[in-house]
């Protein structure tokens, strides 16, 4: 306020500023290298005196930091290391041993890290993409790689705990056997299930139809829930509780996905909590970390320059816009808010339209596909795939409408992008929810008493879990076909057209932009289907792994040859954050249908491992009641209110403590900042006074 640094005449204080201890130490650290090289001939003693000044910032123990973490050239680091090793002789035996063992341990760790980097999938591909397109797009491909690995691990989990024991016990390998206990107290009509497997001579196209829709010969394989109709299995005289294993494997893969995603998102956020500002949008982040040093292609560098210019200009403009927004009159504000309410109502209407059409399409598909008419191959397949087609259409049209509507709402550009993204995420994930809801209302829709005795519609869906599994399978296959078809039949012809035809409209249209957010929503949608579907179709993760493996190469080829990068690509770190948040939303949304299926809807009595239980969850209380009495009491105690309420209160107390701690730290940080500003002003004031005094 009173004192502006520009007031200080440049010449006089500069001399004093250069004599300050802090400036001298910075100078010494930088120039010390060249000076020491020249003085190298003068013997070791002089050097050793000069050495400790470098690392003295760490309280005078020069051996605390290893040589390679010092910002010095290799020649100086070599001398520092020799110095440290000479100093070791003066340490006690214990410290010597500690030092050498930590060194060898670090060496072993390095070797292990080097070895594991060989095993990394697609390292060279992602490196070349990074070189040509920057880190924003590279983060998409790293995300895809992460999902391939996640799905592969989920597949291994389900296979080794569910499919492998079933296969072993069904085929009697290792003297194992399977027992099918007919459930008691169940009406016999509920247990009738005749899947149409291979029935003699069938037309060839039946196999194709079965492959695409999961019916026929696929329905009786281990791909679907119906195969696991095992109530008890003995693997070489050891009893293996398959129903419990099935349920626990489901919980395990959900928990594994949750933990892995959270761990990956936490890796990026160490310091964000103390400061309130938005770190991604800060100017310092954009300027100091703006250039991707890994870009090797001059074209990509040119694009990067342009996009940086554009980004900086839009951010500066947005700041000026904020001023304009603050200056809005009451009348303008009213107008804008009423416009926004109208548009939100339109958005709501669009969403309801989508949901209703999916609901109707599912109902139609369910009603008409149960009339077995093998003669009409194509219409039957179309009816089977109708829900998938409607969902894909909705996922395509709704974002177009949203990006058009958002322009009328007059938000700041960054907020526009975020709001459109959130709406698109919601549409894609809610569509799956509506499909499942529609399926369930058909499955649990009971008119007759006989039906109520089973708890589900036993006539149409004797094995309803396999039905749901088939729907998820169809969605996965159709999604894959659409991605393949769009790349082959839309992108490549477009590229050919743009390169060979030079008329204006075609050139104006140009190549397709590689929209990172659209592509991410696509694969998150596929992953949510996988999470929901794995309970009903244990081998689905394998199919999704292969699907994403192929999609990696499709997207890479499409990027290299047929796409251009967007004018304003997302930054790497905010991209990672966005991908993981959307993935987490998908996972949480996957919990809901699974929770309802497992705990609420009666499991089918005609197939599957949960025939003898009311619901799939019932196997857990059943197992617990087989435990010794003491353990049972402990488990009941944990699940009771007498434990839950105090536990909740303790958690609340811990949370309040940490919130108070964070607030206290924030206040201390503010005080220290103010103090620093004061110190700097004092320093310059004193220098001015000294200069004036010197002049007189």
């Amino acid at each position: 306020e009173l004192w502006l640094p520009e007031d200080v005449p440049a010449a006089a204080p500069a001399g004093f500023l250069q004599q300050l201890p802090s400036y001298q130490s910075a100078l010494r650290r930088r120039a010390g290298g060249s000076r020491e090289q020249r003085a190298g001939a003068q013997g070791a003693a002089g050097l050793r005196a000069a050495e400790p000044r470098g690392p003295e910032q760490h309280g005078g123990e020069p051996a605390a930091r290893p040589a390679r973490e010092q910002p010095l050239s290799i020649a100086e680091k070599r001398r520092l290391r020799d110095c440290q090793q000479a100093d070791i002789k003066y340490l006690s035996g214990w410290k010597q041993w500690k030092r050498t063992s930590s060194k060898s341990f670090k060496k072993v760790l390095n070797e292990a890290k080097e070895f594991s980097s060989y095993l990394e999938l697609w390292r060279r591909d992602i490196h070349s993409i990074e070189g040509k397109f920057g880190t924003g797009i590279q983060s998409y491909f790293s995300f895809l790689r992460f999902l391939v690995l996640l799905n592969f691990i989920i597949f291994l989990l389900m296979f080794s705990f569910v499919t492998l024991p079933s296969i072993i016990s069904k085929y009697g390998i290792f003297n194992s056997s399977v027992a099918k206990i007919l459930p008691k107290n169940i009406e016999p009509h509920c247990t009738v299930y005749k899947p149409s497997g291979n029935e003699g001579l069938v037309y060839f196209y039946t196999y194709l139809k079965d492959l695409l829709s999961g019916t026929g010969f696929l329905e009786v394989t281990s791909l679907f829930y119906g195969y696991y109709t095992i109530d008890a299995a003995w693997l070489s005289a050891m009893r293996y509780n398959l129903p419990l294993a099935y349920l626990l494997a489901t919980f395990a893969y959900l928990a594994l996905s949750l933990i892995w995603i959270i761990k990956r998102s936490v890796d990026g956020f160490k310091q964000n909590l103390v400061h309130g500002e938005d770190q991604f949008q800060s100017y310092c982040n954009k300027v100091f970390a703006g250039w991707d040093f890994c870009i090797t292609d001059p074209n990509a560098a040119r694009l990067k320059h342009r996009s940086l210019l554009y980004e900086l200009q839009t951010d500066l403009e947005e700041e000026r816009l904020k001023q304009k927004i603050a200056d809005r009159t009451m009348k303008e504000k009213l107008h804008i808010y009423s416009l926004r309410i109208c548009i939100n109502i339109i958005v709501f209407a669009v969403l309801s339209g989508c949901f209703y059409s999916i609901y109707r399409a599912t109902a139609f598909s369910q009603e008409n596909s149960n009339d077995v008419s093998d003669t009409n191959f194509q219409p039957n397949l179309l009816v089977q795939y109708l829900p998938s087609i409607v969902i894909t259409l909705a996922n395509f049209i709704a974002p177009l409408i949203f990006s058009f509507l958002i322009r009328l709402e007059d938000y700041s550009p960054a907020f526009e992008i975020r709001l459109t993204l959130m709406r698109c995420v919601f549409v894609r994930l809610a569509n799956i929810g509506v499909l499942l809801f529609s399926l369930w209302s058909h499955i649990s829709g009971c008119a007759t008493d006989k039906c109520k005795a089973c708890g589900y519609n036993y006539e149409l869906y004797p094995c309803w879990e396999s039905e749901v599994g088939q729907e998820m399978y169809k969605l996965t296959i159709f999604d894959f076909i659409i991605i393949l078809a769009v790349t082959l039949f839309l992108d490549f012809p477009r590229k050919l057209l743009v390169t060979h035809c030079s008329c204006k409209p075609v050139q104006w249209c140009g190549l397709r932009e590689f929209g990172i957010s659209d592509n991410v929503l696509e694969i998150v949608y596929g992953q949510t289907i996988c999470w929901i579907g794995t309970f009903f179709s244990p081998l689905l993760p394998a199919i999704v792994t292969i699907k994403y493996f192929i999609i990696f190469y499709i997207k890479k080829i499409s990027l290299m040859h047929t796409c251009k990068t967007a004018a304003r690509p997302l930054r790497a770190s905010s991209s990672n954050f966005f991908f993981l948040v959307v993935l987490l939303i998908g996972l949480v949304l996957a919990f809901i249908p699974l929770g309802i299926s497992i705990a609420h809807i009666s499991s089918s009595k005609a197939c599957g491992p949960f025939r003898s239980f009311n619901t799939s969850w019932a196997v857990v209380p059943d197992t617990v009641s087989g435990f010794p009495a003491g353990l049972q009491q402990v488990l009941h105690g944990i699940a009771s209110e007498a434990f839950a309420v105090p536990f909740f209160m303790v958690i609340c107390l811990v949370m309040f403590y940490f919130i108070a701690l964070a607030g206290a730290h924030k206040r201390v940080v503010e005080q220290l900042r103010e103090q620093l500003v004061m110190e700097s002003r004092d320093k310059l004031f004193l220098i001015r006074k000294i200069t004036e005094a010197q002049r007189h």
Binding site: G33, T135, F293, C294, T296
Partner: protein
């Protein structure tokens, strides 16, 4: 060591591979793995003329040759990088093999954020005076947006941008950013670790 290899080459030996002791010493003194050091050796000797390839460790490559590397050729900070990492006493910014390894070590994946921010500060300090003042920031932004008249920010925009940067990072409000303030603002920057990276 590398000097031993140079001595051997001077005696007419045909060693054009990196000796094992030198390799493990470089592994200890830099953040690079064995694979990366060998690759760097290969790429560096490819920059030398044929006669000098036997004594790679003692040769110096002129700046013009270094700038032909694809990793540096498209980089707007290429001159600053050569200047900062060069230990040449003639001031011609030529780089020896050890300088080259130093550079790769700082830009590698495993380098600590401390080291990276220290060298980033030196690279961005265009006038080598130990602080980032307005002129340095202006040159930095111009490097980012590209050479050429139409790819620069207008004066008003530049003023606004520099004012915002100083507001965010200049803690003691003296109009310049010193090393500790720079390291502080970098530690809060989520993009820095992934963008300040060069891998051969």
């Amino acid at each position: 060591t590398c000097e031993a290899e140079a001595a051997r080459a001077a005696m007419g030996g045909s060693a054009s591979l990196l000796p094992r002791e030198a390799l493990s010493e470089f592994q200890e003194l830099t953040f690079l793995s064995k694979q990366e050091i060998l690759l760097a050796y290969k790429r560096f000797s490819a920059l030398l003329p044929k006669e000098e390839r036997v004594a790679v460790c003692s040769a110096r490559v002129p700046k013009s040759q270094i700038l032909t590397l694809p990793e540096l050729r498209a980089n707007p900070f290429q001159h600053r990088i050569c200047h900062v990492f060069s230990t040449s006493e003639d001031g011609d910014d030529s780089m020896s093999f050890e300088d080259f390894l130093d550079m790769l070590s700082v830009f590698s994946d495993s380098a600590t954020s401390d080291i990276k921010s220290h060298y980033a500060f030196r690279i961005f300090d265009f006038d080598d005076d130990g602080t980032l003042d307005r002129k340095d920031l202006e040159k930095l932004v111009n490097c980012l947006t590209g050479q050429g008249e139409e790819s620069r920010l207008s004066n008003a925009e530049m003023e606004q941008l520099i004012r915002n940067i100083l507001e965010e990072s200049d803690i003691d409000k003296d109009g310049t950013i010193n090393l500790s303030e720079f390291q502080h603002v970098i530690s809060r920057s989520p993009d820095f670790a992934s963008s300040f990276k060069i891998v051969l």
